[in-house]
C-alpha cells in the first residue's frame, strides 16, 4: 500500500547515497539530481501537481533498467516510471524520496514484420512514429490519442490509452500483443506473445492500464492493421446538444459502427475555430464528426446511410469531406481542442468520465448546472461513439479559490458519471488526480483486491506508490466527508 502522505522535502544525504549507487552502473549523464536538471520532470501533462524528484535515472539498456530496479529495491527507494510525460492524471508525478525512471532513451523500433503485421518497439517510441514507420507497408497502429505526436507507446500501455477511433478499432489493450519488462525486484516478465493467446491467466490484460504500478515495460509488440483505402467524414450541425446526443444513438441503432464519432459543443467549436480554422459551423449548438473508412464502395454506402440517419435525427446542416486534406482539416479542430481552449483561458481542467451514451443529455444538463453553481465555464468535447466525455473547466490557477471550485466542480461531475452507470476515467487514468473518486466507484472489497494484486507484483509497494488505488483509510475519510442523503454511495459488504 502506498504511503498516505508523500514526503515533500528531499533528504540530501539519502540523495547522495542513491546517486552513488546508481552511478555504479549508469554513466554520469544518466543520473540527474541537480535542481535545474530535475526541474523538467516535476510534472507530467497534469501541471496542477508538481514535485521535484530526488533523482532522475535515464537508463539506455534493459540491463540498466534491471539494475536501477534492483538497486532501488535494495535501498527501499520508490520508483516512478515515466514515458513522454504527456499523461493527464499525474501518473508520472515524482516523489521527493524517489527515483524518477525516465524511459525516454528507449527510442528504437526493434523489428517490423509486415507479413505477420507486428512491430516490436521500445517503450519510448512515439505513438505516431509507429504508424509513420509502417506506412510504407500500407499498415498503421490504430489507437490514436490526441497527444499521439508526443506520447510514447510505453505510456499508452501504462494508461490503456484510447483516441478517436476506439469504437471500431479498440483501445491499447486490443492492439498490443506482448509486453516485456521487469518487476520492481528486477525479475524479467514477458506477457502475451505473437500468437493470439498465451497460456495461463491473461497477465497482459492486467498489465495494460496498470499505470506503472505492476511492472516497468522495456519492450512492446503492437498489432498493425491495414490502412483503410479511404476515409471520409460527415460534419453535421445540431440546434441543441441533446438532439445531437440522440443522433449518436440513432447512428449506432442503425447498425453503423463509424470509424470515429465525435461531438463538440458551441463553446468548444468557437475556441477551436479561432485557433485552427477547421471550418466548423459556429451557429450550431453542437457539431458531430462521423467518420467512415474502408474500401471506396463501403465508404460510399456508409456515408449515404449516415447522412440519412443524421438528417432524420434533426441535423440542420451537413458537409462531407471531399478529399483527404478536408478530412484532416475537419479533424484538426477536434485534435487541437485542448490547446485551443488553453488559449482562451489561463488554465483548464480536463475531465475524462465515461457514461452510457443514452445519458448524455442528462449529463450535459448537469454540467450546465455546475457551470452556474461554481461560476466557471466548461466547453465540452466528447468521444460520442464510446461515451467518453472531456468537459474542460476553465479557471485561473493563480487564484486558489478558483482552483478549489474547479476541483469541486470536477468531483461532482465524475460522481454523476458513476451514478448514471459510467466511470470516473475512460482513458486518462486515475493517477493522483482521481484517486479520491476511486472511492466512489469501488467498494472497500474491490479496493482491497486491487491492493492485493499490487502486492502480488510488488510486495513492498515501491513501484509508483500512492497512485491509481487509494488506501482504505483515505476512502473511509473521503466517504465520511461526502455522504449523500445519509447513505454512503456504496454501503459496505455484504453487497448483494
Amino acid at each position: 500500500m502506498g504511503k498516505a502522505v508523500p514526503v515533500e522535502r528531499i533528504d540530501a544525504s539519502r540523495q547522495r547515497e542513491v546517486v552513488r549507487r546508481l552511478r555504479e552502473f549508469l554513466p554520469a549523464h544518466s543520473v540527474l539530481f541537480e535542481d535545474e536538471d530535475t526541474r523538467p520532470y516535476e510534472c507530467d501533462g497534469l501541471t496542477a501537481y508538481r514535485r521535484a524528484p530526488m533523482v532522475v535515472a535515464l537508463p539506455e539498456t534493459d540491463e540498466q533498467v534491471r539494475r536501477v530496479l534492483q538497486a532501488c529495491s535494495a535501498l527501499g527507494v520508490p520508483v516512478v516510471p515515466r514515458g513522454a510525460g504527456t499523461g493527464l492524471s499525474g501518473g508520472a508525478l515524482p516523489l521527493a524520496d524517489g527515483v524518477l525512471l525516465s524511459m525516454a532513451k528507449f527510442m528504437r523500433a526493434l523489428r517490423v514484420d509486415p507479413v505477420a503485421r507486428v512491430a516490436v518497439v521500445q517503450p519510448g517510441v512515439r505513438n505516431a512514429a509507429i504508424s509513420d514507420l509502417v506506412a510504407p507497408f500500407g499498415l498503421y497502429y490504430a489507437p490514436d490519442p490526441s497527444s499521439q505526436i508526443a506520447c510514447s507507446i510505453g505510456g499508452n500501455v501504462a494508461e490503456n490509452s484510447g483516441g478517436v477511433h476506439c469504437l471500431k478499432y479498440g483501445l491499447t489493450v486490443h492492439n498490443v500483443m506482448r509486453v516485456r519488462g521487469y518487476t520492481i525486484d528486477g525479475e524479467p516478465v514477458d506477457f502475451g506473445g505473437e500468437a493470439l493467446d498465451a497460456p495461463g491467466y491473461d497477465l497482459l490484460a492486467l498489465a495494460i492500464g496498470s499505470e506503472g504500478l505492476l511492472v516497468v515495460i522495456t519492450e512492446v509488440t503492437v498489432k498493425l492493421l491495414p490502412k483503410p483505402q479511404l476515409a471520409r467524414v460527415v460534419m453535421a450541425s445540431f440546434g441543441d446538444v441533446e438532439t445531437a446526443g440522440q443522433a449518436v444513438a440513432a447512428v449506432i441503432a442503425a447498425g453503423i459502427i463509424p470509424a470515429g464519432l465525435e461531438m463538440m459543443d458551441k463553446p468548444a467549436t468557437r475556441a477551436v475555430e479561432e485557433f485552427v480554422r477547421a471550418g466548423y459551423d459556429l451557429d450550431a449548438a453542437a457539431i458531430l464528426l462521423c467518420e467512415s473508412d474502408g474500401t471506396p464502395e463501403e465508404v460510399e454506402e456508409e456515408i449515404a446511410r449516415v447522412k440519412q440517419v443524421l438528417s432524420d435525427a434533426g441535423a440542420t446542416r451537413m458537409t462531407v469531406s471531399r478529399d483527404e486534406a478536408e478530412r484532416l482539416r475537419f479533424w484538426s479542430g477536434r485534435k487541437a481542442a485542448f490547446p485551443a481552449v488553453g488559449r482562451i483561458s489561463p488554465d483548464y481542467y480536463c475531465m475524462d468520465g465515461t457514461i452510457p451514451r443514452r445519458r448524455l443529455g442528462e449529463i450535459l444538463r448537469f454540467i450546465g448546472e455546475m457551470e452556474r453553481k461554481y461560476g466557471l465555464r466548461c466547453p465540452n468535447v466528447f468521444h460520442a461513439g464510446d461515451g467518453n466525455l472531456h468537459p474542460l473547466i476553465l479557471y485561473d490557477a493563480n487564484d486558489p479559490e478558483q482552483l478549489r471550485r474547479t476541483e469541486q466542480f470536477a468531483r461532482e461531475v465524475l460522481e454523476k458519471c458513476v451514478e448514471v452507470g459510467g466511470t470516473i476515467t475512460g482513458e486518462h487514468g486515475v493517477g493522483v488526480e482521481k484517486i479520491d473518486q476511486m472511492c466512489t466507484q469501488f467498494g472497500s472489497a474491490e479496493i482491497e483486491t486491487f491492493h492485493a494484486l499490487k502486492h502480488a507484483f510488488d510486495p513492498v509497494g515501491l513501484l509508483n506508490p500512492g497512485k491509481a488505488v487509494p488506501t482504505l483509510a483515505r476512502c473511509a475519510e473521503y466517504r465520511g466527508m461526502h455522504v449523500h442523503g445519509g447513505q454512503l454511495p456504496f454501503p459496505d459488504l455484504p453487497r448483494f
Binding site: 514484420d113 507479413v115 505477420a116 503485421r117 507486428v118 490503456n160 476506439c166 469504437l167 479498440g170 524479467p188 516478465v189 506473445g193 505473437e194 500468437a195 493470439l196 493467446d197 498465451a198 497460456p199 495461463g200 491467466y201 497477465l203 490484460a205 492486467l206 495494460i208 492500464g209 491495414p226 444513438a249 441503432a253 447498425g255 474502408g294 474500401t295 463501403e298 454506402e301 456508409e302 465515461t354 457514461i355 443514452r358 464510446d386 461515451g387 467518453n388 452507470g421 459510467g422 466511470t423 476515467t425 475512460g426 482513458e427 487514468g429 486515475v430 482521481k434 466507484q441 469501488f442 472489497a445 474491490e446 483486491t449 486491487f450 492485493a452 494484486l453 502486492h455 455484504p494 448483494f496
Partner: protein, 352 residues
C-alpha cells in the same frame, strides 16, 4: 435471484472454511477442457437472465447461467451478435462457461477474442465476497482490468456471476469462398490478405482447400469476391458452425486433439498427424498421437504454445507448462482471489 445468489455465497463460504473444493458449472458443455476435474459441482444454471440490454449502447449484461443460445437469440433479434463467435460445444452452454473457458470462434482473428469484448464482471471470490469490476461502458480505465483477466481463467478465481460484453451489429452481407492451394501457399495468402483492407472474417485450411468468409457491407463483400476469386460455397454458414462446434468430420477421429496457437506466419510444424488451420494461420489444430513433449517443443520453437484440447489421457497436462517466474506470479494472482484454493484446483495448472 437474490436467494440463488445467497445460496451460492453460503456454499462458497462453507467450502472455504472446510477447504472443500468446488467447481462452478453451468451446462457442463466444457467439462472436457483443461485438466482433470476436481471438487463438487456448484451449479450456476439457476443464476440466469439478461440484466441489461440496450442495443444502441452495444452492451449486454447477463448472469452467468444464461444459456449462450438464449443470449445470442436476444442479440440476433436486434441485428447484433457476440463478435468473438464463441463455440458452445453442447446445447447447455452458458455465458459464465463461455467467459471462463475464454474460447473464441472463427471470427477471432478479425474481430478479437472473448477478453477483448469483456467490459465488466461481477465475481464471487474465494472469501465469499461479491466484487464488481469494470462496467457497461466501452472505455474504462479505473482500477486494474480484472474483468478481462477472468476470461480464460477456467473458474479458478471465483464464480463469474455476471458479465457485461460489447456487442456488434451483424454484418449486412456474408459469403464463403473456397480456393484450392497447397498449405504453404494458403498460409502465404492468408497473411498477405490480412494486411490488405479486405472484409475477411474467417479462414480455414484443410486438405488442400482454403475456405474464406467475407463479411461486411454488400459492396465490400462483392468487391472482395472479385479480388480473391475461387468458388462460392453453398452452405457457408453450416460449414463455419460445424468448424466452430467441432462437429466437422475432421474432429471425428479418436486421436488426441491438440490446439497450437502460433504466430500467423509460422511454418507448419513438422509433426505427425492431420492439421487444420484457422485464424489466418494463428490457430493450428492437430489430431495426433505424437509425443506431448515433441508437440510442445515444436510449438514453442515456432513462437507459440500447444494445448492438449481433447484427450482421454490428460497426464501430459492440458496447458503448456510455464517458467518459474511466470508461475510464481500466476500462483500469487490465484491467492488474491482464492486463498483457500477451493475453485477448480488443478484444472488450469497443478499449482493453481
Amino acid at each position: 435471484m437474490q436467494a440463488v445468489l445467497e445460496a451460492m455465497v453460503e456454499r462458497v463460504r462453507a467450502a472455504a472454511q472446510g477447504a472443500r473444493p468446488l467447481r462452478p458449472r453451468g451446462g457442463g458443455s466444457k467439462d472436457f477442457y483443461g485438466n482433470e476435474l476436481a471438487g463438487e459441482p456448484l451449479d450456476t444454471s439457476a443464476y440466469a437472465g439478461l440484466v441489461n440490454y440496450e442495443p444502441s449502447e452495444l452492451v449486454v449484461t447477463a448472469r452467468c447461467g444464461t444459456p449462450l443460445a438464449e443470449l445470442e437469440r436476444a442479440l440476433a433479434a436486434n441485428g447484433q451478435m457476440l463478435p468473438f463467435e464463441p463455440p458452445h460445444f453442447g446445447p447447455g452452454a452458458t455465458l459464465g462457461g463461455c467467459v471462463a473457458a475464454g474460447l473464441s470462434g472463427p471470427r477471432r482473428a478479425s474481430a478479437g477474442a472473448v477478453r477483448d469484448f469483456v467490459l465488466g464482471a461481477r465475481l464471487l471470490d474465494g472469501r465469499g465476497r461479491v466484487l464488481a469490476f469494470g462496467g457497461e461502458v466501452m472505455k474504462n480505465v479505473a482500477g486494474y482490468d480484472v474483468s478481462r483477466l477472468l476470461a480464460g481463467s477456467l473458474g479458478t478465481l471465483g464464480v463469474i456471476l455476471e458479465v457485461s460484453l460489447k456487442v456488434l451489429p451483424r454484418p449486412a452481407a456474408e459469403t464463403t469462398l473456397r480456393l484450392e492451394a497447397p498449405q504453404d501457399k494458403a498460409l502465404e495468402w492468408m497473411n498477405h490478405w490480412a494486411g490488405k483492407p479486405l472484409p475477411i472474417s474467417a479462414t480455414c485450411y484443410l486438405n488442400g482447400e482454403l475456405s474464406v468468409r467475407l463479411s461486411g457491407a454488400a459492396a465490400a463483400v462483392r468487391a472482395a469476391r472479385e479480388t480473391l476469386g475461387g468458388e462460392a460455397l453453398g452452405d457457408g454458414e453450416g460449414f463455419w458452425t460445424a468448424l466452430r462446434e467441432q462437429t466437422h468430420p475432421y474432429f471425428a477421429p479418436e486421436a488426441p486433439l491438440w490446439r497450437l496457437s502460433l504466430p500467423s506466419r509460422a511454418a507448419p510444424p513438422r509433426l505427425p498427424g492431420e492439421e487444420l488451420i484457422e485464424w489466418g494461420g494463428a490457430l493450428r489444430w492437430l489430431a495426433s498421437a505424437g509425443e506431448a513433449r515433441t508437440i510442445r517443443e515444436a510449438a514453442r520453437r515456432a513462437g507459440g504454445h500447444a494445448t492438449l484440447f481433447r484427450a482421454r489421457d490428460k497426464s501430459p497436462g492440458a496447458f503448456t507448462p510455464l517458467g518459474p517466474a511466470q508461475m510464481k506470479l500466476q500462483r500469487e494472482l490465484k491467492a488474491v482471489f482464492d486463498p483457500a484454493r477451493i475453485f477448480n484446483p488443478g484444472r488450469l495448472y497443478p499449482d493453481l
